[in-house]
Symmetry: C2
Subunit: 471 residues, 2 copies
Amino acid sequence: MADHDCICTQDKVKEYLELMAKNAGISDLTDPALAAYISDSDGLRHLRDLFHYPKCGSLPDVDASLVDPSSDCIYLCGHSLGLMPKATERVMNEQLQKWARMGVYGHLSGDLPWAYCDEAAIEGVARLVGATKSEVSVCNGLTVNIHVLLTAFYKPTEQRHKILLESRAFPSDHYAIESQIRLKGRNPEESMIVMMPRDGEECLRTEDILQKIQEEGDQIAVVFLPGVQYYTGQLFNIHTITMEAHKKGCLVGWDLAHAYGNVPLQLHYWDVDFACWCSYKYGCTGAGGIAGLFIHDRFKEDKRDRMLGWWSHKMSSRFQMTNELDLDEGAAGYRISNPPIHLVAPLMGSLEVFNSVSMDDLRSRSCYLTGYMEFLIKHFFDEASPHRRSKISVKIITPAEFHERGCQLSLRFSVPIDLVYKELTKRGVAVDKRYPHVIRVAPIHLYNNYTDVRRFITALQVVVLSVKGDK
Amino acid sequence: MADHDCICTQDKVKEYLELMAKNAGISDLTDPALAAYISDSDGLRHLRDLFHYPKCGSLPDVDASLVDPSSDCIYLCGHSLGLMPKATERVMNEQLQKWARMGVYGHLSGDLPWAYCDEAAIEGVARLVGATKSEVSVCNGLTVNIHVLLTAFYKPTEQRHKILLESRAFPSDHYAIESQIRLKGRNPEESMIVMMPRDGEECLRTEDILQKIQEEGDQIAVVFLPGVQYYTGQLFNIHTITMEAHKKGCLVGWDLAHAYGNVPLQLHYWDVDFACWCSYKYGCTGAGGIAGLFIHDRFKEDKRDRMLGWWSHKMSSRFQMTNELDLDEGAAGYRISNPPIHLVAPLMGSLEVFNSVSMDDLRSRSCYLTGYMEFLIKHFFDEASPHRRSKISVKIITPAEFHERGCQLSLRFSVPIDLVYKELTKRGVAVDKRYPHVIRVAPIHLYNNYTDVRRFITALQVVVLSVKGDK
Ligand SMILES: Cc1ncc(COP(=O)(O)O)c(C=O)c1O
Ligand SMILES: Cc1ncc(COP(=O)(O)O)c(C=O)c1O
């Protein structure tokens, strides 16, 4: 991979900050004026205006004596729930108006005819995951789609019955896999390979995954891993793992919950067998937004057993209602129920934003924005830093290199995070807590800027001092 | 059943119309003035104002030279897609505003915290289906829920492996059952019992269903039937069929797509094992609205294998993220993904209407409203009627008795319906076509009135004359 030859991420980021600082005539890389300067000169800064960016005063637990309620909050929680695109409100209201005005005729009339509204999103979503249009469907929730996919692709035999996953898999994935193994009449204790990071490490090493596949691949039916790990923020090497697992005859599926809209994906080119994702994190479709699934085109004509419904049936003859299934091709044939317009509307709103910019430009912006956050965290909070002013230190458990992470950084605090989290919240900082020690933050390439990051650092400095006193 | 002792529906309806006509000083029961009179004196007439009732001018195919665009359309298609409650717009916009203003904090804050928004609907939905709160979940699409239920409850053995369904099952149900049989390693040809109506009949007779259960019950794992049949409008005798199938050791599941919000249901009391429904027909939640499922309380503690996700896990410990499943009780333990707020919002809007009135009052209104439609259809279009003015005649294939139908009437025309349907549409009449001969109409107890029905009859008179000339 080209990435491996480059100088390391930390140096690249520093080079960039130094260049910008020079242009701005600023000497201190931690100067908030530098953040303001980069934010202002950012070619993608207009994207923020496409979103409703919350004010401090409208967050529930903000203390108005500590922050100006009319100022922007510091929203670093887009890895959990993305902000609302302004377009979404418009699309949603158009669809409500259509329903109010024409009732059932909306199925076939007006913008976004409901009977095929999901199909309007396919092109945009396919672009985000690097797929052809026939490889993608939008439907259901994410875990439901894990079941849809494993029901069809996990067909254990005596010889090959295992599913390889990671020990820190998101609970819902873990339960889904465990229950699929049971439903197929097998025992999770025998059929689940749960990979743990090495002692003292947080992330799985690609080499260890490949070795496990080498060792047990003959018995592995399905490798199922996250594109980006929710807890550590680690970006897996989807291409290499998929390729190596294929050599051993395994099928390879990916949960892209934290990868979709976060990092560029090339599912088709990477030869991934199947994948699924939710859209409410980087996808910005709102809580419980519609999920997606990917089926590689090599399975396009494949009629494998799966959970069927009338939406698996080809549109052309679907409404003849004959009860003779005419299975749709590709990912479309994995749909089951008719699409919910009130979930497709926010997806269309979100795609208006994504369609206006390339994922590569977003990614490039993201790498430096997250790199800036990393630089500041290390500068002010690293255990070994001379600039640390509180007893509390922070270690970043997310991998340090661009090609091994998305925009999220997982910060492990040297103390339990309860108080830190609470005090951050009071100051209008939206982050996410993983007890006992981890806070996850994500400066989102769509709507965050360098000033948000810099303000977060200031807030964190104040907070760690306030909860533990001076060093 | 008490119903069986009453005088027949047709006589009851006539009695009622005669009484109202007498009160109004009207002699002709078909007089539009009678419809206006009953509509005006209707104790539930305010419900219509809780909905956006479309105008002729906003339907896509209306001919403005034939009807006044500013007049109410004749919406008789609520069995396909219910109209939009005004409350829905408000609830949806509240939730969009919350997202805009507080992002991720909306999961736990404000009205309808997203992390448990589905639970806010349980009480209202449970009331509509006659269930305890622990028996009901709202999640997914209807066919997805058929899979959720059959995955858990259809466990074929050598001895007992069949599923009994009807030959005219809605295609999606048919495909779901067929695929579940295959996924369980069996053959639909051996394991599907597809019941057909008697020669020359449209509806299945209860006695024939009971006899089939008597004959083949020992091999039947699951009886899966519709509460109200989508094509004929027949209301099945859920209680009796469930009881008799239980005697033979079968599990009994019901698809209530056309029963939910249409007829009063007593799933718990009727001892139904499991059931599911969509909410976008009589439930008025919009295209692809959130579906529901019912699991009888006798399975409350039962931990049978099923498709699991983090939403199957008890709320109290769900976010500890341990990967040790602590299965939630009852129907809640059949949920998989987190709930979509943008589908729960319309459900809450719809429940504002349903919670303001009793299902029994709605049902009583519905019986007479549909009875009035039947009376007029027979009067003006029955093959044998002296009042028929066109060559075209209409036969109602829906059962004639209250206790065997909901509000829908399925009209079989003596000619192919293409032209009739098209001409009705031009005149602002929204109905539903089932080629070649059937048009389904449903005066909905929530928002339709006697005048809608009477206007429909006038439109139909004009239309049948226009397409076929005089008798
Ligand atoms: C009886 C019945 N079953 C299944 C369905 C399919 O519903 P969904 O697309 O929500 O799965 C419908 C939809 O109209 C229906 O009426
Ligand atoms: C990696 C991963 N898997 C599964 C889920 C569960 O998603 P859903 O509730 O949409 O099924 C999430 C949600 O955050 C997730 O991050």
